[in-house]
């Protein structure tokens, strides 16, 4: 999941929560006579105001359109994953283009990771988040030596992935999932 979307969700949910809480609280205060007798929901002055201001409903329509556009962006943001399908390794355009299917790289990374002893499965994705980065999730068996698996992942798998992308400083996120399975992997090393 995209952490920026999660942060945006928290901010928007908090703001909407505050708005609803303030509206409901103020309405209840008016309802129970905190400011005198409970007023009408739509006083005559408010009811007549739009008729005297021809721009009023167009301004409301504009605000509603902005809210709808924001809601559309917010809805699509929930589905966004930042995954990259292709990797452009072109050094010089005059020599031609070199494109690598991201799946080829992530399959190779997953295969190499699952060959480590104690690894039962692995899942890799190439993401575009502040530049290119590799995300690797590794399920470990009960008996896995975590330090050994880490050394294998960091020294071999990550090093090979960086070598393959010709980017020795490519950021890599590894998530270990200890004791994810009781069965053994196909690890050989």
């Amino acid at each position: 999941m995209n952490s920026r979307v999660d942060t945006a969700n928290r901010v928007v949910l908090t703001l909407l929560g505050l708005v609803l809480l303030a509206t409901g609280g103020l309405g209840l205060a008016l309802s129970f006579g905190a400011l005198g007798a409970a007023p009408r929901l739509l006083p005559a002055a408010v009811r007549n105001y739009p008729a005297e201001q021809p721009w009023f409903w167009w301004a409301v329509a504009g605000a509603c359109a902005i809210v709808a556009l924001f809601a559309l962006w917010w809805l699509f943001a929930q589905l966004r994953t930042n995954r990259v399908a292709r990797l452009d390794l072109t050094g010089d355009d005059r020599d031609g283009q070199t494109l690598v299917h991201a799946g080829a790289l992530t399959d190779a990374v997953e295969n190499e990771a699952t060959e480590l002893r104690g690894v039962t499965s692995a899942s890799a994705h190439l993401l575009d988040r502040h530049g290119r980065r590799l995300a690797l999730a590794v399920d470990l068996a009960d008996y896995a030596d975590i330090a050994e698996v880490r050394a294998g992942l960091e020294d071999r798998v990550v090093a090979h992935a960086r070598q393959a992308t010709d980017d020795t400083s490519m950021p890599v996120d590894i998530e270990l999932r200890p004791a994810a399975s009781r069965r053994g992997g196909r690890g050989l090393l």
Partner: protein, 176 residues
């Protein structure tokens, strides 16, 4: 919490989108002097003009708004337990984490290892892990210390011994 927030966000976004589109459509239809599409605004205006804030249904709606507002505030502000914990790494541009559930599973397995432990439950947070082990022994003796050592050993393997503190308690089964 992140999944709940995503579901809430999707539902609210959909509601705002539908509400916004319907409102714009109704305003445009009204400006063109055409009949309403979904919202009978003339009837709504009459109803709003003749009722006060003390009307029963209005109070119910206002209480509903307060409750939904509180729910959204809790969802937005509560941090909840982390999905994963960061493990120390000495390589640049390499971020290694362990899933919280994985940590709980592996610590639970470690806590069950000392003789006499019949079950163990673990809850991991950002800075602490709480281990509740159970034994059938009448006199657990130093079992708590052995469980603590096993848990700390596993935390050390993970590289978390310096940043996460273990709190171990052992209870006698049947006394719980």
């Amino acid at each position: 919490m992140r999944v709940l927030n995503r579901v809430l966000a999707a539902v609210l976004a959909l509601a705002l989108l539908v509400g916004g589109v319907v409102a714009v459509a109704e305003i445009v239809l009204a400006a063109l002097r055409r009949p309403y599409w979904l919202v009978a605004h003339d009837q709504w205006t009459r109803w709003l003009a003749t009722h006060t804030f003390a009307t029963g249904i209005v109070r119910v709606i206002l209480i509903g708004l307060v409750l939904v507002g509180l729910l959204l505030l809790v969802a937005g502000l509560r941090r909840g337990r982390p999905g994963s914990l960061t493990l120390p790494s000495d390589q640049e541009a390499l971020n290694v984490t362990a899933s919280r559930r994985g940590i709980e599973r592996t610590l639970s397995a470690a806590a069950r290892r000392p003789d006499g432990v019949s079950s163990a439950r673990v809850r991991a947070r950002r800075r602490t892990v709480r281990v509740k082990a159970a034994t059938r022994l009448r006199d657990p003796g130093e079992l708590s210390q052995r469980v603590d050592e096993a848990v700390v050993d596993r935390l050390t393997q993970l590289g978390l011994a310096g940043s996460v503190r273990a709190r171990v308690s052992v209870s006698i089964e049947g006394n719980r």
